[in-house]
Symmetry: D3
Subunit: 305 residues, 6 copies
Amino acid sequence: MTQEEKLLDTAGKIRSMEIRGAGRIATAAAQALKDYVLELDTSSLEEFDRQLRWAADSLLNTRPTAVSLFNAIKLVTRYSATDAQAAKEAVVNNADRFIKNSQRAVEQIGIIGSRTIRDGDTVLTHCNSMAALSVIGTAHRSGKRIKVIATESRPRYQGITTIGMLDRMGIDVELIVDSAARSVMNEVNLVVVGADVVTANGSLVNKIGTAQIALCAHEARTPFMVAAETYKFSPKTLAGELVAIEERSQEEVLETISQYRQVRVRNPAFDVTPRQYIDQICTEAGLIPPEMSYMIIKERLGWEL
Amino acid sequence: MTQEEKLLDTAGKIRSMEIRGAGRIATAAAQALKDYVLELDTSSLEEFDRQLRWAADSLLNTRPTAVSLFNAIKLVTRYSATDAQAAKEAVVNNADRFIKNSQRAVEQIGIIGSRTIRDGDTVLTHCNSMAALSVIGTAHRSGKRIKVIATESRPRYQGITTIGMLDRMGIDVELIVDSAARSVMNEVNLVVVGADVVTANGSLVNKIGTAQIALCAHEARTPFMVAAETYKFSPKTLAGELVAIEERSQEEVLETISQYRQVRVRNPAFDVTPRQYIDQICTEAGLIPPEMSYMIIKERLGWEL
Amino acid sequence: MTQEEKLLDTAGKIRSMEIRGAGRIATAAAQALKDYVLELDTSSLEEFDRQLRWAADSLLNTRPTAVSLFNAIKLVTRYSATDAQAAKEAVVNNADRFIKNSQRAVEQIGIIGSRTIRDGDTVLTHCNSMAALSVIGTAHRSGKRIKVIATESRPRYQGITTIGMLDRMGIDVELIVDSAARSVMNEVNLVVVGADVVTANGSLVNKIGTAQIALCAHEARTPFMVAAETYKFSPKTLAGELVAIEERSQEEVLETISQYRQVRVRNPAFDVTPRQYIDQICTEAGLIPPEMSYMIIKERLGWEL
Amino acid sequence: MTQEEKLLDTAGKIRSMEIRGAGRIATAAAQALKDYVLELDTSSLEEFDRQLRWAADSLLNTRPTAVSLFNAIKLVTRYSATDAQAAKEAVVNNADRFIKNSQRAVEQIGIIGSRTIRDGDTVLTHCNSMAALSVIGTAHRSGKRIKVIATESRPRYQGITTIGMLDRMGIDVELIVDSAARSVMNEVNLVVVGADVVTANGSLVNKIGTAQIALCAHEARTPFMVAAETYKFSPKTLAGELVAIEERSQEEVLETISQYRQVRVRNPAFDVTPRQYIDQICTEAGLIPPEMSYMIIKERLGWEL
Amino acid sequence: MTQEEKLLDTAGKIRSMEIRGAGRIATAAAQALKDYVLELDTSSLEEFDRQLRWAADSLLNTRPTAVSLFNAIKLVTRYSATDAQAAKEAVVNNADRFIKNSQRAVEQIGIIGSRTIRDGDTVLTHCNSMAALSVIGTAHRSGKRIKVIATESRPRYQGITTIGMLDRMGIDVELIVDSAARSVMNEVNLVVVGADVVTANGSLVNKIGTAQIALCAHEARTPFMVAAETYKFSPKTLAGELVAIEERSQEEVLETISQYRQVRVRNPAFDVTPRQYIDQICTEAGLIPPEMSYMIIKERLGWEL
Amino acid sequence: MTQEEKLLDTAGKIRSMEIRGAGRIATAAAQALKDYVLELDTSSLEEFDRQLRWAADSLLNTRPTAVSLFNAIKLVTRYSATDAQAAKEAVVNNADRFIKNSQRAVEQIGIIGSRTIRDGDTVLTHCNSMAALSVIGTAHRSGKRIKVIATESRPRYQGITTIGMLDRMGIDVELIVDSAARSVMNEVNLVVVGADVVTANGSLVNKIGTAQIALCAHEARTPFMVAAETYKFSPKTLAGELVAIEERSQEEVLETISQYRQVRVRNPAFDVTPRQYIDQICTEAGLIPPEMSYMIIKERLGWEL
């Protein structure tokens, strides 16, 4: 395969969702850009830049609304150089740094977030988030006896993946249907969930159902924490862009609806939790209030309007 | 079969949940008591009373926490008579009246409740309630163009039954997962749900998930109405009895958990919605605030502490 | 004029709003019914009843949504008699009693409500309500030094009438635009407003703007009291009827809109305040929580579904 | 002592607070009235009535704002009789019934309220209420393992009495300062307090600090229950009377303030908890929402405006 | 006219409110300072500085509480230079930049803010704000079908200006009285208003009535957005200065009050909306949560305590 | 004494709480470090650094959870130098600057915070905070007539110290028990309290009872302000560290509990107020919303995760 073919191969896998999950997409794109520029053979900075742009756009167009992809590409392709060789080196360094930082971010979030969990606590989580599980797992490994309540997370039942992972860690788990979150909330000491996107005004876009759980936590004075790597924060929302809420296929909810005349399925993949219900966001840059999203975007991701 | 055997047969069907649903249980018990006393052949009032008590207790013990069963038996077996014949007649009349009233209550609730729906409204419902569907269906038949959003109602998916019934009525329906209720709430003009029990202090005990939806409705200033026949109101809660929240089997949620070491399933069948989130309760006795539960119990059901 | 013509004359004045205001309409209808039956000359109870029904319907149809009119007619025409003469006497007595009670209700409300005002208090009122002003005036006459803040009550500026009446009573008044209610709310010790309708579930239908003021009072922990004669309570809402919110003419808001192509005026006369924002309703039957509306309807007005 | 002297002796003890506590005052007054009429020796009903009025007023004037005293006297002196002997008997019967009912009410409240407590619960209480302790004690005696958190209840430290009584019952107790209620609230399953007065609109007047605790319970979704005999409900508040909040002496708070020039002590004995923060009131007539106060007053105490 | 006279002429127009509106005042002051320094003929930096201070103070004193004027003058007169000529150039450049940026800010706000509006949305606005109308107009021009509900904005009816401007843009408009905002709020998808001042802790000072609308939006879960150029943010509030709420003349509300003895008019021009009710502020620097006000002040305006 | 002995002497006094109070501890530690390094006699930077670390650790270990001590030591020991002499000078300068800044911070907070108080205001305060009293005292000295309501602040009655200080300033004071805060809240224009710690997500850790008062202020729309020097902000909370809530001795609450079998005393010294109830924090760096805590930590204190 040429470097173009290889890059398009990765792009194809992202588009087809063979590669999926905010973190894996971002890492794959960074790696693809690195591989691509390593094989670029031009001494013209202009030409280098043109080819890098093509590669970046090819990747970006696969999931135009995925903020982690956008941030990864933006961070990897940002350089100031006076010749092609220096530019190439900068991009390669950016990619290496992005990949390493992504990996370390989850660990760092685990360390920071786990400090907020006390021995004997009950933690509720929703869906299946690496960052949230890093918080829970780190607390468990540090010797705190904790119990986790996990929602099944309809329609795709990611909660089943979650309980499997927690079980393998040796953590006591209770599985509930999503509707039972309020019923158990008075027993919960902390809710921790992941993030698909954090917006410039501190809202959380995450798996459908998250906002209801946050509301229930707020009603019961139970702290609600988001575990999110900083590349989940969206610079574009600062410029007013709404986060598109993906509408997934009917089949995820109901195998067939052909027997009905007037029934349709609505299957929004995400919902929006307002910052008023979020006590803190645990990032690799520290435990911040959601209103600090603007600073994270500015300091870590950069933006221009 | 003797009359005893017949009565025990009905009791058995209620216990095994062959006969299920608050309304059907109540009606079946009333019918069984009627059939039973019709065949009683005693001129001693004392003897009549003893046998009636046996029959009542046999039925009551099948589902000791089902308030509709309790109310049906209490209303049917209440009489003042000086001889066995008069007592028998009173019980038969009570049973006939209870059965007829139960049937009419759903219609009456439909008529009253449907007046609160306006042309063009979007109504959200949860689970599968005859009384709630009577409200929606009556509004539709009266010519109002309405749309219904129905939750699937995990774990038993009663929402699928609901969308089938609405589809047959010719009403436009959107099916959502339970977690999506908050996402669509700003589009909803009215939430209407049924009731398993209404307590003396105006709380609603209903299908798991109801309380979360009520909370979301409250947050969005969307009216939340309960459709409940008066025999769903619980006299015993006036005396402090807690409504037992049935914990259903693990299999309803997850087929098997044997592969896990530390996972258990919690499957509460109901939850409790506080009166603060309930705008009104639509009964066959009128549209009342939940705080009026006490009066309904006193006037319609009677109680002694 | 024949008795029919006289009755239709009153009906016409109510329809044309020559007679207006919930209290005056109710009193005029009661008087018209009394005058009408006094001149009825039939010994047939059936005939009497037929003619009374005609008169009642003639009056009722003038303002089919006015609850005070509905209640007045219902209370006046309710009788049990075995001959026409007794029926006539009953109706005349009913009418006399209704008229006298209406007059005394405002006084009684003033006495009861004024007890909740303390020396030095600041009271806010909206629109122009006789019952609310009775509360304020009685407090003033009892020697309490009070200040009133009155809203102008757009679009019809009834607040200007209110400040004139208060000024004549010798009470210090501050006039504000409706938008300034929240700005002054932290200084206010009590909000007191009248009622057009109180519904069976305890909601208040009153002059547009009332609900915003109630919300502001709730936000600032300022008590919000409704002053309402019991004939303002609506038996029909118990049966699910929505209170029709009258949409008044555009001219009340803006003299002309002909110069615009795409502008229309919305001019709802009333809004709905939920019971959650109402601390108490001061009626001639006592100071009650809004949830007691059902009992007032039942005990004072009667209803059949 | 003459019967007049004996009655005045009791009145004096109530005035000097030698006899104190809502229940004890009420019982003492009922007993004093009984003793007084038993020694009345008149065959004139008019004379009997005059003397009874004198006795009632003598007692009432000792603590004109104590609702339990008012209710006791009203219930004891209510009779319809055609001769003095029958009147005397009625009053004696009333007094006996009142005293017996008062004693039974606390037991009955204990039975009803204790049903809402579950095994393993933590209950928070404030001040020192017989009715609240009856709820807790009955739950404990029924075999439920419970823990109680008690506030010290400044300024008079009634909480110290409470912990002594709980300790003697064999119940685990934690004592906190009043300021720590919110800190522990997320661990609490139920708050239960007594009542000095319940008003017609469902507000609770109770020991200073109660309202703050109710607010904290509301914030944390912790149920808040009032334990109150029905004679704590105030008929006069239905007529608009405000409950006077007694201002107690400075010395209760601070031994001396003479060393300061500009310091004064404010020492309100009670505060007012709005019905919105009260989940239920446990009376001997059942577990009711606070809005039902009106019905309790009407059915149990009677009133005329 | 000398340059002094010209500057004083502009100052006079600002004082007399011939020049009014936060944006126009700021621009006029910047232009006046530019014109003034262009004609200054001194080679002494000290003298230049003295004269510039005089001019700045002359302008500032016309409306000492207008934050836009304060910010404009501060930004224009900030320079570091070693000779008078360089200082003059710096001030002229500052003025040009300020004027250009002010003009572009409104456009930029329109672009950013309009992205948050979706096709089919209903937008509510209050008073007459260029920035808010830029958001609405840009959304309309981008092809989104929107409807606007505009309040009349008593006492000065700026809403009438607003509906005229929207009508000319070809946008469907509904005019309501200010009191009707809550009545229509459940139909509204977005509230957008302008700002007179944004404080360091994120409060909004704006036209009287804004806070009530924000409260109603919050109650109904309707997003509330402020459109504000960054020069509306107040550095002085960081140092604790309260924003003076101008009390306007009685005549704006009521033509004459001479006929009353005890009536006065209160006419506050602005009210304060707490940050809890503000979802986001749309500035030319992006869409931020109100808590970010501090950063805007620091980065864009500078401050020293 | 050697310099080591002197340093350990100060450390001992901090440990034994002879030196107590966040400000005094911080200042004493800074002074001790200065005195210590002034007597260090080494030309080796490495040796200097080792000895400085020892001294810092010796102080830090006395109260490992006191954030003011942590911040003081961190700010004093931060230097970049290439030789021991330069390092020593840097540390001495740091210490002098820290001490001077601490003293000025309280004054500056007084000036800034006092601007938010208006003539005639009633201010409520809790416990005994120098910063809060600086706000109140500065307002008083600037000629504003104010009244202060002070809580007694059980268990240690610091409120008694507060009323003494206010009395000496000539300010009118009312003393209340902690439980009475809600009762008086509707009369209060501003609550101002100090801080033990401000966390990275904007929570306030302060004297037990503070959170209840903040909740009551929020309920009544009364502004709640925290007066806090920036060295009260905790960098460690950014890394997830929970602020340890000191549990004080039983004797502070109750002299003896030996007479009880099942009573224990819980005596948490502090509680946590969430940022939602805090309107602003008055620091020497300005009046900020609590969400800005992150920026204060970053700009003023520095941190590394």
